[in-house]
Amino acid sequence: MSPRLIALWFKETIALTRDKHGLLALFIMPTIFILVMTMALRDAFTPGVTIDVSYSVVDLDQTPISKALVKRLNRAAAFKKIDGNNDLATARNELLQGKQGLVLVLPKEFGSRLLTPGGTDGKPAEPMTLLVDPALSPTLQLAFRNQVMAALGAVRADELTVKAGKLFGLPVAPGATLEKDWPDEIRSEAVRGDTNAKIPSSVQQNVPAWLIFAMFFVVIPVSSIFIIERQQGTLQRLRAMGVPFHLILAGKLLPFFIVNQVQAALMVLVGMYLVPLFGSEALELPSSLPLLLNWWAVSSAVSLAAVSWALLIASLAKTSEQATIVGGVGNILMGAVGGIMVPKFIMPASMQKIAALSPMAWGLEGFHTVMLRHGSFADILPSLAQLLVFAAASLLAAIWLNHRALAAQS
């Protein structure tokens, strides 16, 4: 290994560790973004799972059938269930105080009359009652009512199956209960192109997204050091010492590549251990080694693209203020367009086409291919190729700009 290159790496590393603003942008900013955005967007990624309206059930029947209904409702409902003390007066009071929005009252004999329509045995059917907060939107009331009806239908069907199963030759185990899982739940799938992929969860979207965003922020420290070198005549001194420009660039690539990998490790750890502390699900990395290597390949390609882009911006900018503005705004635009800030799957089709132009989108696509679809190396190859071509083009442009600047000088 060339001792000159080692000296350059060493210098860059020390300079970076003393650049407080740069470190803040590289490590603290994405951590905060991941936490805040994962919390803020938690519900946007699992549509309909929870609505911020709570309900309780007052079960006056207390039979297995009424309990089955409560359980089904709880499993399917998008509303938040509050476990009350099963007392009508208390529930009514809490409704008045606005502590909950809906109270479902299951009448006595609810279970025994489940399969007996009103009037068939001479008794009227006592209906279920839904107590509602009058301020609650009628749409939500209707939605809850529909969910109760659906749950009721399912419980009735279950009961019928148990009671009439033998008659129709259905497989009914002895002592079967009403609490079995039936294949009647609906899971959402986003249809994209010719492959069906799960929608990323909030943490699956946010960790790679803000990691990519943070990686591209190496533009701040890269350009701040590079511009000092140019303005203070250090680059000229290095040239007079016979250090070729490509060696100077190589001296910057590796330290910042390592910085990017440290960022990747840190953001994954944030996703796995810090995010759950704030009540969201933990990030899960693929467990097999080939998939992990694919993940790392994407991370490396994003890093090469980010550092090369930073070197290009540093070569273009005359002052560090210019670099901060051009680099910072450029990154924000790439992030906004590329599905970092607003996930691509909720963009309209036309915007999704524009998103495909952002290098950040290529990186995110690569990460999602590995994390959500468990894609092979061949699957991530298009993303890798795009990023590497972008990196090479940026690097060549940076070298060309510096040669041009020297030619103008001479």
Partner: protein, 303 residues
């Protein structure tokens, strides 16, 4: 040692050349002063010697070898100390020295020896652990110089190395630089501070508008081409004497007289004595560098 023969250089998109037919002869083991107003071409010349730009015609040789050959043989033969503080402000003094030593390709042992000797040379012992950005102007200049010495160069190019320092640091820098030839380093020193050039340079060149206006030893340059006498008196110069010697007033009771022959100096002094005019000081036959410089560069403002 260093021969510069008829070199020219023109920056792109500029009407006049920065260097035009410049020829210089820099002897080994001395300090060669390059004097000129702003924009004279000093930095261009230094850059050409440092290999930062390639001259369009002419030839530069060091010990008979071209610069390319010299660099190939010993990349550390020529070192440049730029006008700017060309080091890393966020690195400490020691880290800067280690970095530049490393970039020069010094071995571990060489790096230690050279760093230590550069620190001792520039008296940086007290600040080795301090970040360069926290140093005073004088200490920064010393660090800038110390970095230039890491590769033990045969030829050291100093581009205005004392700009912006206090008088104490300037004296220290000048004394240190004056001691370099004894250690085997030839120095080319550019400045527009006349007294610095006069103090440490054995040979000088005055350049302006890309051309060499005068080159020679300091004594040669300062020798007056016409026998002028600068004289300070305690009374005003009598009119008759003033007319005979075409005197011009150059200060308060200070005059410059034109003496056609050196022998007339005794006559003049006798005449003044007989008129009761006492002489306070006189300077005959030698100018100071500033006078020569201003005469050659025509006193016009350059910026």
């Amino acid at each position: 040692m260093l021969q510069i023969k008829n070199i020219s250089y023109r920056y792109r998109d500029t009407p006049s050349p920065a260097l035009s037919g410049v020829s210089l002869d820099v002897p080994a083991g001395g300090i060669y002063g390059l004097l000129g107003p702003n924009g004279a071409g000093k930095t261009t010349l230094i850059s050409a010697l440092a290999g930062l730009l390639t001259v369009t015609n002419g030839q530069i040789t060091l010990h008979g070898q071209t610069l390319t050959e010299i660099r190939r043989e010993n990349p550390r033969a020529i070192a440049l100390v730029p006008q700017d503080y060309a080091f890393y402000p966020m690195l400490t003094v020691a880290e800067n020295l280690r970095f530049f030593g490393g970039v020069l390709g010094l071995s571990r042992a060489e790096l230690k020896t050279q760093t230590d000797s550069a620190i001792a040379f520039a008296r940086l012992e007290q600040v080795v652990g301090k970040r360069a950005e926290q140093l005073s102007g004088g200490l920064r200049r010393r660090l800038n110089l110390a970095i230039g010495l890491l590769g033990k160069p045969q030829l050291l190019l100093l581009d205005e190395p004392t700009v912006g320092v206090d008088p104490q640091s300037r004296h220290f820098l000048l004394d240190s630089i004056a001691a370099l030839p004894a250690a085997g380093t030839t120095v080319i020193y550019t400045s527009h501070y006349m007294e610095e050039i006069e103090a440490i340079c054995q040979k000088i060149a005055i350049v302006d508008q890309g051309q060499v206006l005068a080159e020679g030893t300091l004594t040669d340059i300062l020798r007056s081409p016409v026998p002028l006498l600068d004289i300070g008196l305690e009374q005003p110069l009598p009119e008759a004497i003033a007319q005979r010697y075409s005197a011009t007033l150059i200060g308060e009771q200070k005059y410059r007289l034109n003496l056609p022959l050196t022998v007339t100096l005794q006559n003049l002094l006798d005449e003044l004595d007989s008129e009761g005019c006492r002489v306070r000081n006189l300077n005959f036959g030698q100018h100071d560098l500033e006078q020569v410089f201003m005469r050659l560069t025509n006193r016009s403002l350059r910026d």
